[in-house]
């Protein structure tokens, strides 16, 4: 009997030991929480990758470059039906979005409104970047755990961008002494200068407004937001390491074709097999005495083996031209391993202002902003004064406000925003028209089944959206092979 009584505590001890041994389902070598200053670098770095993930493909759609082959599905045929992944979708929702949400939540708990403010501005920038390629996307039911959220129309996404920007700026305003310090270690863009973040938020508003200004009369707001931004402007560019070693330290456009981990695999650059288009080369060819090419050409590209600067017809491969007769696309200002990746450039503000003023018939303002944009870009690329003045004197640059065409503005913006995704937005807004883009033509090798239509968007991620959300996908019509030829909200409504 006694022995049996002893057993009870022994069993109880055994039971509680077992219970404790079962509580081991938390990974001991991975953190669960951290502070906002340790979360911001990842958000900013991923945002640079996100912006790149759109540009990676859109630079082919916006005629900067073309493949040396005629057979590339996306680059030469605009056929997105053979992809297994759409990286840009993940870069927005997970790599930037999910981390922004965690950052905002952590920052709010910490009362670090500087961080929550920046988090909201980046989230807005990410949504804007994503929706301008994808169109409709989940906003209201995103991040709720729902596997089949409803897709919101693009105007709803724009309203969310607006809300996030306003909240972001308000958070920055209320950031106080209890906030975690934001400095060069965490803020890789502005080193903690919050006024610059506010300026960037205004710049994003200007960018957002110019997308719709032609049908909702927002040209004035474009100009005022751009002016506000310019007043406190510093370029938000993401800087990679000066002498990068690891793939993670390199610009994705770089010649070492960085591919840090598997989820970068579908967005590695293809510049090694790509060449400048004839469209691009035509605009950069000045062919006047003493000035053969736009001096920026030598900065944006590097000489090929034969030192020639050929341009290839979009989608047609290099045909009979030797590959060595083209410029090398690597190691240019934006395409070296250590090149910076811009979120947005000052030039863009000038050209937005110029475009808005031009459409408002304020030609003088348009002309001034146009000239500022060109010289800003020349300065950025380090063009020597002599070359700049020779170029400014050439027929490529308009001399009076009255001569200025929308094509002059858009083409200068095109060069200034070399290899940026925003150019594709501009082209689609202008419906690929030749008054804005003189000399633009429909590429020859686009699959016949697409019926001569121009490409308008990216498909959603086939690996997830088409699997989990078939009803919404069907409602949108995104199952169709020619879905990417469907206009976005702002291109469908465009009056340009």
């Amino acid at each position: 009997m006694n022995k049996k009584i002893y057993l009870i505590p022994v069993l109880l001890m055994l039971f509680s030991a077992c219970k404790k041994n079962l509580d081991i389902n938390v990974n001991p070598v991975q953190p669960v929480t951290t502070t906002s200053n340790l979360m911001l670098p990842g958000v900013l770095g991923n945002m640079a990758y996100h912006a790149y993930s759109h540009a990676r493909f859109s630079v082919y759609h916006s005629f900067y470059i073309t493949s040396r082959y005629t057979t590339n599905a996306i680059e030469s045929q605009w056929d997105y039906n053979r992809i297994t992944r759409m990286g840009a979708w993940r870069w927005h929702y997970f790599d930037v979005g999910s981390n922004c949400i965690s950052l905002i939540k952590t920052a709010e708990q910490e009362q670090s409104f500087n961080y929550s403010g920046v988090g909201k501005i980046i989230m807005a920038y990410s949504y804007l970047t994503a929706t301008d390629s994808f169109g409709d996307m989940p906003v209201k039911e995103a991040y709720t755990g729902d596997f089949s959220p409803a897709y919101d129309t693009q105007d709803v996404v724009y309203a969310e961008v607006e809300r996030l920007l306003n909240e972001g700026m308000a958070d920055i305003q209320k950031s106080g002494s209890q906030a975690k310090v934001m400095n060069a270690a965490s803020d890789l863009i502005f080193q903690g200068d919050l006024s610059k973040w506010t300026a960037f938020a205004h710049a994003l508003k200007a960018r957002m407004r110019i997308h719709t200004a032609n049908f909702d009369n927002k040209y004035d707001e474009v100009i005022s937001e751009a002016n506000t931004a310019l007043a406190a402007w510093k370029d938000p560019v993401f800087k990679y390491a000066a002498d990068p070693q690891r793939d993670y330290e390199k610009n994705m456009w770089g010649p070492s074709v960085p591919n840090p981990v598997w989820n970068f695999a579908d967005i590695t650059n293809y510049l090694g097999n790509s060449v400048s288009t004839d469209f691009f080369m035509n605009y950069l060819t000045v062919a006047e005495p003493g000035i053969k090419y736009d001096p920026r050409l030598y900065k944006l590209t590097t000489p090929g083996k034969n030192g020639r600067y050929q341009g290839a017809k979009m989608s047609e491969g290099i045909a009979d031209i030797p590959f060595d007769d083209f410029a090398s696309l690597y190691k240019g200002f934006w395409t070296a391993d250590n090149s910076p990746m811009p979120y947005m450039l000052k030039e863009e503000l000038y050209f937005m202002k110029s475009e808005a003023a031009w459409y408002k018939n304020d030609k003088q303002t348009a002309f001034e902003a146009y000239k500022s944009g060109i010289s800003e870009n020349m300065g950025r690329l380090g063009i020597v004064a002599d070359s700049v003045s020779r170029y400014m004197a050439s027929a490529k640059v308009k001399k009076t406000a009255d001569d200025l065409t929308i094509g002059d503005i858009m083409m200068q913006k095109y060069v200034a925003l070399y290899l940026q995704g925003e150019t594709w937005v501009d082209m689609r807004r202008h419906k690929y028209k030749t008054d804005a883009y003189p000399g633009l033509y429909y590429p020859k090798n686009i699959l016949a089944e697409f019926g001569g239509k121009w490409i308008q968007r990216f498909p959603y991620d086939p690996q997830t959206e088409y699997i989990y959300n078939p009803k919404e996908i069907a409602r949108l019509g995104a199952m169709a092979r020619n879905w990417v030829f469907t206009d976005l909200w702002w291109s469908a409504n465009s009056k340009l």
Binding site: C18, N21, L22, D23, I24, N25, N27, V29, Q30, P31, V32, T33, T34, M39, P41, G42, N46, T70, T71, N81, R82, I83, T84, R90, Y93, F94, G97, E141, D146, F147, S148, A185, S186, L188, Y240, R246, E249, P255, S256, V257, P260, V261, N263, G272, N273, T302, K305, S328, Y330, K331, E449, T464, Y466, I467, Y468, N469, P470, M479, A480, R481
Partner: protein
């Protein structure tokens, strides 16, 4: 020796009684008529009374009886005999084996040996000798065709590629579908980390006494978690008391390449019909007559030579026995620069510490080193680079005499290099090496206070250290500065259990068997991985010559604890009617606190109906069982984690794998019905089983919509149903003095259905089954689970291909994910024949498979690259497609337009249509043929050895199939591909290395 062991064991189940009256004492020995050895544990009882004694370990007995009493001598598996002693005397009895009985002793869960007659579920065992006849170093491959219901596929003919075994169909959508692996009572790892060989291949087939396959969850229910996919119970050999046995053997294997995909030999590299040497695709011009054309796949593969040595000593006495074996295997393969080098040592012993207490212990040490030339990715693709290598270059010219790469194309484009190089560069310079050093420790203490009661405590640990190295040397295209990847891991699985077994005839004719136990299982792994880029000294490939900034180290530390209490109760009435009940209460650390404890039962019954009839030469039994089993989640899937941000600035970002605090166990329900028939005194045995199993609330780890904020998450959803039929027939067709012919036929069919998928999901693609978008491996709602979805042509209502106005077939572009293939075989058939003539023995196994689609992604890739045979045969030929053209009024007329099958047609039309690459495949394959010869005694006696055996064998010598590619046994990603998606790539041929044809010669000497 084997039977003696068995008797020792069975003695514990026999009845125990004490003598009553004391009138005269009879002593004697009970022995087997066959080998004259004493039978321990045989029962000697007085007919019509309760007086019973049992023989001791020598078979001796002593019993007191009254004059006139009839003594009955009996033992399981022998015919009983009766004697009526007239005076106190010595009565020696020799029992003959009972050919009539159903007695086949099989190893069941927890290593418990049971008379198959009393079981309520299906079980099939393979004897070690039958396994060895297959001459496969990987035990899993040795089981091919020998188990009805086991789908075994190897990932290819390279020693480091894993094989996968799935019993009764896929039960888990993304989880591990392989059965639990138990060696001598201890759970062992069969993982294939980093895509290397499945770890069961570490164990030496020579040491195996028996493999019991518990095919369904029903048989394995008492193992609880992980038993839903069945269990494989491996029992190793043991020393027998008596004289010391020494056996040494040597075998040599010659491996030659199997069936290869066919290529065109007419066109050079190029694009769109124009010569272009910057590409590896073969869409160039026609070869000129003066140009040499190389048959590169043939020139690539080698002949492999493997030597295998075994040595084994065993023996023992009444109180102890021992077994010691050593195995060394070293061999090359059909793939250059590939070899496998394995050392295995097994030490085992049992000692009787006291009359009722026995201790057994074993240590198995394995050192397995595999170097492989061909390196693929997670989804396979091993040999694609070989199959597609252009015919205009000699694949063997990969380097110059000084060791520099011999690029067939090289361009330095402003600091970025591109180059094309023979795949033999990678094979010879950049192989991957896996080394596993493994120790399996096992100890068991058995206490038998009474013959009907035993208590045993077992503790064991499967520990292995695995290193994996993959170096890419500088100047390799795509990795010009070199790259290094290493993992170093320690994996430990510790199991212990305490079982109490009660087995007694409680009332006349009613035997009660009860097993009550408790177990603890702890798994932990600790791994470190290093990735490095840029060797500063190109000649040395170590972390020591990589700058610290270019090195990245990660650590992982998964842990899991499980506890369980379980019971197994059986009522056996006259060994005729049997009822069984099991119950198991599991606790696991991988589920949330509120869901981590669960209980599941099984109930079964069997009935030997022939007992009711006057069955002399035959017997028959029917059985049924119902069981439910729970399964837990993968480790660390209940909460979110952060992970290091590797970009500029550092810090942390969210881990792509999100947590799910609402996980609950996955539940599998099994129903099984079976019949066993034995005819002509067990000369013919038939075992048929029908089963239905259904897995609900599947624990799925998959990509989820990114709009959730996660990339991967584990969640409960989906239901899979499997049903199938298994038939196993074995018999002795002929038995004469010098000749015997035995045959076994295993036939089976499994039909699965995806009953339910998460939320709105209709098509669930498998991550590693998507080499091309034209067709992907996927599961589709309401369809067989191992499906293929993809594109097809437009078809009219009669099924004819619709041809466009341009004369080319139209692709159905609205539905890109049609169900276009079922990878599950319609019917499987294993046919084993064994002949014995005097000193010769011959055995061969045919493996026949009917139906089951294979996705020939190898050909799709070769087609896109213009190197597939058809691309040469048909390119630029005129052709009229057999199809119909739609008219303006909606009617169809036959197509008559002649078109040219050009580059554009093949690459954008033909290669985009998945159905062009789905093949319904049948095969008949001889898995092995082994001829043995035992040298005459007269000869061996002169050499003073006991026995000399010679063996000639061929593995995979014949393959007859309608498959257009290489070998149709394909599984591109293998088991647990990059995580756990068992079965997901079975039937997907993506650069598969064909199974090799192997010929071997062996010599075995017993001293």
């Amino acid at each position: 020796m084997k039977r003696k062991l068995l008797m020792l064991f069975l003695s514990t189940f026999l009845l125990y009684a004490t003598a009553m009256a004391q009138q005269m004492t009879i002593t004697g020995k009970v022995s087997s008529a066959e080998d004259r050895l004493g039978i321990p544990g045989a029962s000697v009882k007085v007919k019509g009374a309760s007086t019973v004694v049992q023989t001791n370990s020598d078979g001796m007995y002593s019993i007191n009886i009254q004059k006139g009493d009839v003594l009955v001598f009996s033992y399981i598996g022998f015919e009983s005999q009766e004697r009526t002693p007239t005076a106190a005397s010595t009565v020696n009895v020799s029992l003959k084996t009972d050919s009539r009985s159903l007695d086949e002793v099989v190893v069941t869960a927890f290593g418990v040996k049971k008379d198959k007659r009393t079981l309520t579920y299906a079980i099939q065992s393979v004897k070690g000798d039958d396994l060895r006849q297959a001459n496969q170093s990987n035990i899993i491959n040795g089981l091919q065709g020998q188990i009805a219901g086991a789908q075994i596929t190897s990932s290819g003919g390279s020693p480091g590629l894993p094989s996968e075994i799935i019993l009764r169909g896929v039960s888990s959508l993304t989880g591990d579908n392989q059965p639990l692996m138990i060696v001598d009572g201890i759970r062992v790892s069969n993982a294939s980390t980093d895509g290397t060989v499945n770890r069961l291949a570490d164990f030496n087939p020579e040491d195996i006494e028996n493999i019991s396959v518990l095919k369904g969850g029903a048989a394995a229910a008492i193992y609880g978690i992980d038993a839903a996919s069945g269990a494989i119970i491996i029992t190793t050999k043991k020393g027998a008391s008596g004289k010391m046995n020494v056996v040494a053997s040597a075998k040599s294997f010659l491996e030659t390449v199997g069936r290869l995909p066919k290529r065109q030999t007419m066109y050079t590299t190029g694009l769109g019909g124009t010569y272009d040497n910057s590409t590896t695709t073969s869409w160039g011009r026609k070869f000129r007559v003066d140009e040499q054309v190389y048959d590169n796949p043939k020139r690539f593969f080698d002949t492999g030579l493997t030597n295998d040595f075994n040595f084994n000593i065993n023996g023992g006495t009444e109180t102890y026995n021992y077994y010691m074996s050593g195995n060394y295997r070293d061999g090359s393969s059909i793939i250059p620069n590939t070899n496998a080098d394995k050392l295995g040592i097994l030490l085992k012993g049992t000692a009787k510490l006291a009359p009722k207490l026995e201790l057994s212990a074993s240590v198995n040490y394995i050192d397995n080193k595999i170097k492989e030339g061909l390196v693929g990715s997670n989804s396979g693709g091993w040999a694609n680079s070989v199959y597609r290598y252009p015919s205009q270059y000699d694949i063997r010219n990969y380097q110059f005499d000084n060791g520099d790469p011999n690029y067939v194309y090289y361009q330095d484009n402003g600091g970025t290099e591109t180059g094309i190089l023979s795949p033999l560069w990678n094979v010879n310079k950049n192989p991957r090496t896996t080394r596993t050093r493994r120790t399996v420790l096992n100890g068991v203490l058995d206490y038998k206070p009474y013959p009907w009661l035993s208590v045993s405590y077992r503790m064991g640990q499967d520990y292995y250290n695995q290193t994996y190295d993959n170096i890419t040397v500088p100047r390799t295209p795509g990795s010009w500065d070199g790259r290094l990847y290493q993992t170093r891991g320690n994996y430990v699985n510790t199991t212990s259990y305490l079982n109490t077994t009660f087995n007694k005839e409680v009332i006349k004719d009613l035997n009660v068997y009860a097993l009550v136990g408790a177990t603890s299982e702890y798994y932990e792994a600790k791994t470190n991985s290093i990735t490095g880029e840029k060797f500063q000294n190109p000649a040395i490939h170590s972390v020591n010559v990589i700058e610290a900034a270019n090195l990245k180290t990660t650590e992982s530390n998964p842990r899991r604890q499980r506890y369980a209490l379980y019971g197994d109760f059986r009522l056996e009435y006259k060994r005729m009617l049997n009822l069984s009940f099991t119950g198991r209460q599991d606790w696991t650390s991988t589920l949330p606190t509120n869901a981590r404890s669960f209980f599941f039962p099984s109930v079964g019954a069997s009935f030997v109906f022939s007992e009711l009839m006057d069955a002399k030469d035959w017997s028959g039994k029917v059985r049924t069982i119902y069981a439910k089993i729970g399964k837990d989640a993968p480790i660390y899937r209940t909460n979110n984690n952060l992970t290091q941000y590797l970009g500029i600035g550092g810090g942390f970002v969210n881990d792509p794998t999100g947590g799910n605090p609402n996980l609950k166990p996955e539940v599998t329900t099994n129903n099984e019905y079976g019949m066993e028939l034995h005819f002509f005194k067990n000369r013919l045995n038939i075992d048929a089983t029908y089963y239905i199993s259904q897995s609900k609330d599947q624990i799925i780890s998959a990509r989820v919509p990114l709009t959730t904020g996660y990339v991967i998450q584990t969640f409960n959803a989906g239901t899979i149903k499997n049903k199938g039929l298994e038939l196993s027939i074995n018999g002795t067709l002929m038995k004469q003095k010098n000749f015997q012919w035995d045959m076994t036929i295993n036939a089976w069919k499994n039909t699965s259905k995806m009953m339910e998928l998460p939320d709105q999901v209709r098509v669930f693609p498998y991550t590693f089954g998507q080499p091309y978008t034209a067709a992907i491996a996927a599961s589709v709602l309401d369809m067989p689970v191992l499906g293929i979805v993809g594109t097809d042509y437009q078809r009219n209502s009669d099924g004819y291909m619709v041809i466009g106005a341009d004369g080319y077939p139209l692709i159905n572009s609205t539905e890109k994910q049609q169900y276009i293939g079922n990878r599950e075989p319609k019917f499987n058939f294993g046919w084993l024949n064994k002949f014995q003539y005097k000193d010769f023995s011959l055995s061969f196994l045919w493996d026949i498979r009917i139906g089951g689609d294979v996705y020939n992604a190898t050909r799709l890739g070769m087609m896109s690259a213009g190197i597939a045979k058809e691309a040469g045969d048909w390119r630029d030929k005129e052709f009229v497609f057999n199809g119909v053209v739609k008219q303006a009024d909606g009617s169809y007329i036959k197509n008559t337009k002649t078109v040219v099958l050009d580059y554009n047609y093949f690459t954008t039309n033909y290669a985009s249509v998945g159905t062009n690459f789905i093949e319904k495949v049948n095969w008949a394959r001889m898995r092995y043929m082994t001829l043995g010869y035992t040298l005459p005694k007269s000869f061996t006696n002169r050499l003073k050895v006991n026995r000399i055996q010679l063996e000639f064998s061929a593995q995979n010598p014949f393959l007859f199939t309608n498959y257009s590619g290489g070998d149709p046994e394909v599984n591109s990603a293998g088991p647990n591909a990059g995580g756990a998606e068992g079965g997901s790539t079975m039937g997907v041929d993506f650069g598969a290395i064909p199974l090799s044809r192997t010929y071997s010669f062996g010599l075995t000497v017993s001293f």
